[in-house]
Amino acid sequence: MSSEVHTLTGAYALNALDDTERAEFERHLAECPDCEREVAEFRRTANLLGAAVAEQPSDSLRQRVFNEIRTTRQEPPGRPRPVAPRGRGRSGGTSRWPLALTSVAAAVALALAGTFGVAALRAQHELDEAQETLAVAAAEYAPVAQVLGEPDAQSVTATGATGGNATVMMSRKLDKGVFLAFHMPTTPSGKAYQAWAIGAGGYKSLGVLKAGGTDSTVPVIMNTLGGTATIGVTVEPAGGSKQPTTTPVMEISLPT
């Protein structure tokens, strides 16, 4: 553990890192139980600073909250997460991402844990759960395993400008990659996320992202990386566009 990275626990716990640094630090956090504990302690400390400045909101807010929860479906019980999850912003939109399976996230986490020796899954029940899920999903996610089986496999993550995060697992040697986004904010009605492979030669659509497991998209398999330098995600009309028409909400630079 480099002390340089370790000093970021404070800034991280206070949400004082920018998106890139946050993503980098979260990678470090997954391998550093000491940092994780320190971050948890710092968060509790910061929350005491927060609780000390309590201020009652207006009664009308209370009414709005109760009106909204009456029409908001709760998530079914699942695996608890270690940190506050990124949400999808305002809920109740028409194109909310379905919630159900933990398949993709579990499969990917397990594959990562195996391949990189990362202690991504600590509790035995999480492993059991992931292994069961993986058995079911094995065939479907064979390309993920293929990529991760390569000695030069690496993963890059990024956080979206409007929320959500994404991971690319790739192997330059195999010239393949898998792209997956998590916790993306709900798109406005009639809109969808579309991923693009961007390189010196221009851009190529990777298709409209489909909701997969809990809060994640169905993995996008890239059968060739070619000269892709960046993967971008834009908000497009539901059927997708021929070319990006909005500023990317997510950009991941791929290592060369």
Binding site: A54, S58, V65, A84
Partner: protein, 199 residues
């Protein structure tokens, strides 16, 4: 054990004169109880709004973010488990994150350098400090904050209550990045120990 037995076994803890803790309420919320959410609201709405308001400042926008946070709490209550700390800890972690998300996305729309450059150090810190100190209701928090060095205190307050990145804090305090990084951590360590926080 079936449910009726489970309920019977728990009876001594749910007598009518025992007020449920926020954690117990959150467990009920996860089962869809609006009544439990109503009671939980009384415990958490003030702290959530307080945190969001410090960071976001604008009252209308702060109420919007507070609403988002509380609805998200309702929606994701099933993710809560006691090892994540108190219910208040859980929801305030979410609240601060959402408040920061809101100001950062607003900042992204304006010129960041311009914004930071236009604000003098004194103005930035004074406005955060002033807003906060009149509001600090917990004597212990106030005392522990005053036990920090000036730079630690300014860094922590500008980052937490001001919702600034440590880079912005460094700019505002005209202090090297590395120094702010370590001051934030040292300041939090001192606060943690002073407040007796353990995980």
């Amino acid at each position: 054990m079936d449910d009726s037995v489970r309920r019977a076994a728990r009876l001594p803890r749910v007598q009518s004169d025992v007020v449920p803790t926020p954690e117990e309420l959150l467990v009920e919320v996860a089962k869809g109880s609006e009544a439990a959410f109503e009671q939980l609201y009384h415990h958490i709405a003030g702290p959530v709004f307080g945190v969001v308001r410090r960071v976001v400042r604008d009252v209308a926008q702060s109420e919007e973010v507070t609403q988002e946070v509380l609805v998200e709490l309702w929606r994701t209550a099933t993710r809560y488990s006691p090892e994540l700390g108190s219910a208040l800890n859980w929801v305030l972690t979410l609240a601060h994150r959402r408040a920061v998300d809101r100001v950062r996305s607003a900042q992204a729309a304006t010129n960041r350098d311009e914004r930071v450059g236009a604000m003098s150090v004194e103005t930035a810190f004074d406005s955060v400090a002033e807003q906060v100190t009149v509001r600090l209701e917990h004597e212990q928090v106030r005392r522990c904050l005053s036990s920090l060095t000036t730079l630690q205190r300014e860094s922590v307050m500008l980052a937490y209550y001001g919702g600034n990145t440590y880079r912005d804090v460094a700019g505002l305090l005209a202090t090297p990045l590395g120094t702010v990084k370590t001051r934030l951590r040292d300041g939090l360590i001192r606060l943690r120990d002073c407040l007796g926080v353990t995980v």
